[in-house]
């Protein structure tokens, strides 16, 4: 995987936007159609894996990605706790879809960050030497 294939680079460049679009679609429509935060996040993490396959360069600051992941988890916990304790959904029933989309978005962010960290950690640091 050390040779930089021109063909792979170009085709990956074309594919990126579609991967992002598909992941975001899956997250945004998770509450009405198959998919959801977890699956959409896994699709989003495929961006960085595709990036590794075309150019195996370490360009991410993994500590920052980890902070982002933890922030997403914290925000998700706060959101769910507030939603349940404040009882907004009993008075305003139309707020539920927005809550679901927001929660899915946070889950997707967390999963994408987590999978990216696992993959990059594995690909660049773990070896027998």
């Amino acid at each position: 995987m050390n040779d930089h294939s021109q063909l792979l680079n170009r085709s990956m460049g074309i594919i990126y936007p579609f991967i992002i679009l598909f992941g975001l679609y899956m997250i945004a429509n998770g509450h009405v159609s198959p998919g959801g935060g977890f699956q959409g996040g896994a699709v989003l993490s495929a961006i960085f894996i595709a990036k590794y396959l075309s150019q195996p360069i370490m360009f991410l600051d993994l500590a920052r990605v980890q902070t982002l992941e933890k922030t997403a988890l914290l925000a998700l916990l706060i959101l769910v706790t507030l939603f349940i304790t404040l009882n907004v959904y009993q008075t305003f029933i139309q707020v539920i879809p927005y809550y679901l989309i927001l929660a899915n978005l946070l889950i997707g962010l967390k999963v994408a960050c987590g999978m990216t960290i696992i993959f990059y950690r594995f690909a660049f640091y773990e070896s027998r030497e």
């Binding site: 896994a42 993959f119 594995f122 027998r128």
Partner: protein, 180 residues
């Protein structure tokens, strides 16, 4: 359609176990994931099917292939006497032939041979270095010590039985964990 997918699951899982090359086994596992995600879809669980298709057949396949890429270097230590190394690294024809045979084995197994000539004693190499094989020569008998986690050792034995050396005889030993 469902029956075809179910039969495909059985076939791919058996071939994944039975195949000789790890790389092919990984690909069969990817196919298996694809088939089983289709089965989930037919049973009315599209969410599970999506997760299985993404994680099982894409992410884990790539992870396995990257792992195999990392596992490819096969380190062979050749323990020599000090006077044998001094002649400008010129080894005898028999030794060169032995090295060539081992390199042939590695090419056949999709591995990259890394051969290190060493004058250190055997115990020192076992304790200090990362190795797959250690060759020790004594009175035309080559003793091959293998690392306890060396999963290619049995195929190496079979290979060397077919490719006999004109001068050397082989003896195979597996380094036990408790010696380390």
């Amino acid at each position: 359609m469902l029956e075809i997918a179910l039969i495909l699951i059985v076939i791919t899982s058996i071939t994944a176990i039975q195949t000789r090359y790890l790389r092919q086994a990984v690909l069969y596992l990817g196919l298996f994931s694809m088939a089983i995600s289709f089965v989930y879809l037919m049973y009315g669980a599209p969410d599970v099917a999506l997760a299985e298709a993404i994680i099982g057949s894409t992410l884990s396949t790539i992870l396995f292939i990257v792992a195999l890429q990392k596992y490819k270097i096969y380190t062979i230590y050749y323990a020599l006497q000090a006077d044998e190394l001094e002649e400008n690294g010129q080894l005898s024809i028999h030794k060169q032939q032995l090295i060539k045979t081992l390199e042939k084995f590695c090419t056949k197994q999709e591995l990259e041979a890394q051969i290190i000539y060493s004058t250190e004693p055997l115990e020192h190499i076992i304790a200090q270095h990362q190795y797959a094989l250690i060759l020790v020569e004594k009175n035309d008998v080559i003793t091959i010590y293998a690392h306890p986690e060396n999963y290619k050792f049995d195929s190496l034995k079979q290979f060397l039985e077919i490719e006999a050396h004109p001068r050397y005889h082989y003896e195979f030993l597996k380094v036990e964990e408790d010696i380390l």
